[in-house]
């Protein structure tokens, strides 16, 4: 997977988030403050523009630029959290011009650690970690099983989607939904839902 692949990934994310903007906002309206779709749309559109202007030379440089742009443009909790996730991935890639599924798996672990450190959330708190953590595990398992890149990305995307769905019966302990207490039960977490979209886009980028 080279720089072009990761640029395609960001393209896919921007398109998916734009298409699902209202859905993400509806999820957020139920247990948050109805701005998640608009914020991510603004952020990934800005990231795509930043990439067009800068043409970063490596996958690492590309993802660090995406992360920094998200931190600078999105605001809220999702700006710093998504921004950190992309920056940690980029830093894990170093200077490499091409990365393997094993390296992508290590980078996703780094992203997860960064998000957990910053937000303080654990699995089961009804946050983006509930989609990111199972995806990172599924990708690591796929690499151990020696699956091809496309199959490995499939497994990660499926795990993220299942993780997001599994937030529905949970009571939120972090983020704005936590203010609702037991009333947060019965709704999918918007951050987990958007994380599933972001990782689903990885699979779409691979099949381009």
């Amino acid at each position: 997977m080279n720089t072009e692949f990761f640029a395609a990934w960001i393209d896919e994310i921007a398109a998916t988030v734009r298409a699902r903007r209202d859905h993400l906002t509806e999820l957020d309206a139920a247990i948050g403050d109805a701005d998640h779709g608009a914020n991510l749309d603004r952020g990934f559109t800005a990231a795509r523009e930043a990439l067009a202007g800068a043409s970063p030379p490596t996958p690492g440089a590309l993802l660090v630029l995406v992360g920094s742009t998200l931190i600078r443009k999105v605001g809220g909790a999702s700006g710093p959290l998504y921004g950190t996730a992309f920056r940690e991935m980029g830093k894990a890639f170093g200077e490499a011009a091409e990365v393997s599924p094993a390296e992508l798996s290590a980078a996703l672990d780094a992203a997860l650690s960064g998000v957990r450190r910053l937000g303080g959330a654990a699995e089961g708190d009804k946050t983006m970690v509930d989609a990111l953590a199972p995806a990172a595990r599924a990708l690591a398992q796929a690499v151990r099983d020696g699956l091809k890149a496309e199959e490995a990305l499939d497994a990660a995307a499926a795990a993220a989607g299942q993780g997001a769905e599994a937030t529905i019966p949970l009571q939120a302990r972090k983020g704005r939904a936590s203010y609702l207490g037991p009333r947060s039960i019965g709704h999918e977490d918007p951050g987990a839902a958007s994380t599933a979209l972001v990782l689903g886009a990885l699979k779409a980028a691979a099949s381009r």
């Binding site: 906002t25 403050d33 443009k73 605001g75 809220g76 999702s78 972090k174 983020g175 704005r176 203010y179």
Partner: protein
């Protein structure tokens, strides 16, 4: 949705243009999205910076001016500002005595202000941060995001602002700000949801016979839904929650705050009930504020915030202030 907007995507910029045009005492950086006092920085004075999502007007830009904030950073509607804005604000108000950030306790605000403080520190600005978390509707625990910051933000900004104006050092201003937060409690009630312009429809549905108890200031549902009742009964529920958390006694500063869509006449009806409740508990409302100060767009409803005063806090509350939304004594 009917709103006085040009475009849902440009409402913050369009409103900032209005603020700049209406208030020559302010300097508005439209591109950087920071509202400064026109004469910032004040040499030798601790600079006060606050900010948060838009939609809570007059908080925070309406409280920039003598005796209160030096700068405010408005984010998108209900979305915290980004670190770039906060760094620009901190650098612009640092008069050599450091900068105090007043931050409402929400994950997004805390993260963005933390990042900004670190980066501003790298550039040589001394930054201290005070978190406001006064909302008793949220159960606090080590495992959650903690309580929300709501009405007490205004008290913290006013009192810390007055102290900073005397030339007090950063640590002293931060201490007073924390003390105000610790002595303050709030509870909010919604009669209707609000409509976020970018979403285009109300954040939740509520029948004419129902209210939401324990709401924050972001159009989110509250802790529980209850039947609509007389103002007297609703106020009792709100005040019981505050009194159970921090027993009311002595001289008290009280704000009855409208959520944006509530007629003032109703807020005064609420205040009368709040005042009677305080007397019943042996407390006295010696200072008061009634009006729309920490709003939630077009939501109907109110919040009540109390602060148990000391001699020092009363003097600082009474000190002169001159901002677009709060002014006296000067």
């Amino acid at each position: 949705m009917k709103k006085l907007i040009n475009d849902a995507d440009s409402i913050v910029t369009d409103a900032l243009r209005g603020i700049a045009a209406a208030h020559p005492s302010l300097r508005v950086d439209l591109a950087g999205r920071v509202v400064f006092r026109a004469d910032a920085p004040t040499p030798g004075k601790v600079g006060l910076v606050s900010g948060g999502g838009s939609g809570h007007e007059p908080l925070h830009a309406g409280f920039v001016g003598y005796g209160m904030l030096d700068a405010a950073c408005p984010g998108e509607v209900f979305t915290s500002p980004v670190p770039d804005q906060i760094i620009e604000a901190a650098k612009g108000v640092d008069g050599g005595a450091g900068v105090l950030q007043i931050v409402k306790n929400y994950t997004g605000d805390v993260l963005n202000f933390e990042m900004a403080a670190e980066l501003a520190g790298d550039e040589g600005v001394e930054v201290a941060t005070v978190l406001v978390d006064d909302d008793v509707a949220v159960r606090d625990s080590l495992f959650t995001a903690g309580r929300r910051g709501t009405g007490a933000t205004l008290f913290v900004e006013k009192i810390a602002g007055a102290l900073a104006e005397t030339g007090a050092p950063l640590a002293e201003v931060a201490r007073a700000a924390r003390e105000v937060n610790e002595r303050s409690r709030s509870f909010g009630v919604a009669l209707t949801p609000c409509t976020v312009p970018a979403a285009g429809k109300p954040t939740f549905e509520l029948s004419d016979a129902e209210i939401e108890l324990g709401v924050g200031i972001h159009g989110e549902p509250g802790r529980t839904r209850a039947p609509m009742r007389e103002a007297r009964e609703i106020v009792r529920t709100a005040m019981d929650a505050i009194h159970a958390d921090l027993p009311l006694s002595g001289e008290t500063l009280v704000m009855v705050n409208g959520m944006g869509g509530t007629p003032l006449i109703e807020l005064y009806i609420v205040f009368a009930e709040v005042e009677a409740y305080l007397r019943e508990k042996g407390a006295t409302a010696v200072r008061s504020l009634v009006g729309n100060y920490v709003t939630s767009l077009d939501m109907q409803g109110f919040s009540v915030t109390t602060c148990s005063l000391t001699g020092e806090l009363t003097r600082l509350w009474d000190a002169p202030v001159e901002t677009p939304a709060l002014r006296w004594g000067r």
